[in-house]
C-alpha cells in the first residue's frame, strides 16, 4: 500500500515538474511570437501611417506624398487615440521636422510653424504594456 502511494506521489511530482517546464517554454514561445507580431505590426503601421487622410497632404483633393503639419496640430498630445491602433502593442508616434532645423520644441497652434516636434498618436494596451514596449520614432524630412 505504502509503496503504491509513494510511486503515485513520485509520478505526480515528476508530471508536475514536466508540465511546469513545458508551460514555461510554451509561454516564452508565445511571448516571442507576440514580440514578432508587434514588430511586424509596427512596420506595417509605419509604412501606412503617412497615407492616413488625417495627416496626408492633398492639393485640390489630389493626394501628395507628404505630411500636412497643420493637420497634426489638431491632435491632442495628451489624449490616447485608441481608434487609430489595432495592434496589441504599446505604441507612440511623433514627427520631428529635420530640415529646416528649428530648435523651438513642441508644436502648438501658437508656436506653429516655428517648431519641430509634433506629438501625434499614443496608444497603450494595458495588459502587455510592460512586456512588449515598442516605440516608433518616425522622422519625416519636410
Amino acid at each position: 500500500m505504502m509503496e503504491t502511494m509513494m510511486v503515485a506521489l513520485v509520478f505526480i511530482i515528476v508530471l508536475m515538474v514536466g508540465l511546469g517546464f513545458f508551460f514555461k517554454f510554451q509561454l516564452s514561445s508565445i511571448e516571442e511570437k507576440a514580440d514578432t507580431s508587434c514588430l511586424l505590426s509596427n512596420t506595417v503601421m509605419l509604412s501606412s501611417i503617412t497615407s492616413m487622410p488625417e495627416i496626408q497632404c492633398s492639393v485640390n483633393a489630389n493626394r501628395e506624398d507628404c505630411i500636412d503639419t497643420s493637420k497634426l496640430l489638431v491632435f491632442d498630445a495628451s489624449r490616447i487615440y485608441q481608434e487609430f491602433f489595432n495592434t496589441n502593442c504599446d505604441q507612440k508616434v511623433y514627427f520631428v521636422e529635420l530640415y529646416p532645423s528649428v530648435t523651438n520644441g513642441t508644436c502648438t497652434q501658437s508656436t506653429y510653424p516655428d517648431c519641430s516636434y509634433y506629438y501625434f498618436l499614443k496608444m497603450m494596451w494595458i495588459i502587455l504594456q510592460k512586456l512588449l514596449s515598442q516605440h516608433l520614432f518616425l522622422c519625416i524630412i519636410l
Binding site: 503504491t4 501606412s48 497643420s70 493637420k71 489638431v74 487609430f84
Partner: protein, 330 residues
Amino acid sequence: MQNKAQMSSSFNYIFAIIIGGIIFMFFVGFAYKFMGFGESIGAAGLVNSLNDEFAAFSASDSAEKTLSFNKESSFRVYEGKVISNEQTKQIDHIVYAPYLVEGREILISTKSLELPYRVGNVFYVDDGNTLYILVYDSNTEEVVEELINSYNSIPTNLPKYSVDVNDINVNVQDLIGASNNYDNVRFVFFTKYDSVLSTIQSNFNAYEILYVISSEEDYSSGYVVYPDSSQVTYLSYPLLIGAMISGDAYMYSYNYDLVLEKVSRVSNVYLEKSKLLETKLPECEYTLIKSALSSYMSILGNDGYSVYVTNIENVEEENQKLGGDCPEVY
C-alpha cells in the same frame, strides 16, 4: 489473516484504477484543451495577418490580393470584428464581406473613399463563391460598364457578370452557364426586375436580388434594396460595391456608420485646419469653407442621399475658390 491480505490486494487494485483514471482524465483534458489552444493561436494568426494586410493596403487607392491558406479557413467579419473559431479581433477598418467567408483562397481588395476628400479606404473580403450579376437597361448600361471596366470598378478578383435585362428571358442558358461554378448568385438590378423574376425563380436555386435606386444620372449615390426589403444609402461607388458584397443590410449599415464616423473625424481635421489657416493668414477668406464643413458635419447621420450630395458639392465648390496665396483646405 489471509482474508485481510486479499482485501489489501483488492484495495491496491481499486486504488491503482482510481489514480490511473484520474491521471488518464487529466491527460485527455489536457490534450483537449491544448487542441483548442492551438486552434485559437491559428485563428489569432489568421486574424492578425488579415489585419496587417488591411493596414498595408490602406496606403493604396486601389489594390487587390488573393490570400492563400494551407488549409480550409472560415471566418466572419461582423460588427468591426474578424471572428474565427471563437477568436475575435477588433479591426478599425471598414470591411465589407459576405455573411461567412470560407475557403483556401480569400480575395481581398480595397478602394479609396472620397467624400469629397479622402476619408480612408474601404476593404472588401470575399471567398469567390458568389457570382455578382449586374443587370442593366438602356438607361443604366453606362453605369454598369463603369462599374465593370473603369478605375472605379468592382475589384477584378471578384466574380462578376453583366447582362441586359432584356436578354435574361431570351438567353437564360448563358446566365446559367456563367453561374455554374458558383455556390450562390447575387443579382444586382439597375433596372426594374418584375419582367424577369419568374425566369430567375425557375432557373436558379441559390440566388438573391439586390435593387439599386438612384435619381443621379451616374448612380454615384442612391439606395440599395436588399432581399428582405431593407433599404440602405450609399454615397459613392466604393460604398455601392460594399453594399453588393455585404451579407445583409445590417452588415452594410454597421460599416456605413463607420464611414460616417470617419467622415466626421476627417472633416473635423479640415475644419480645425481652416481655423488655423484663418488665424495665420488673416488676409484670406476661410469663413465660407468653414461654414460648408460645419454644415456637412451637421448632416452626417441623415438617411437620404441627396442632402449629402448637396453638402459635398458645396464643400467642393468652396475649396475650389481657394488657392494661390490662400491654400486650399484639402
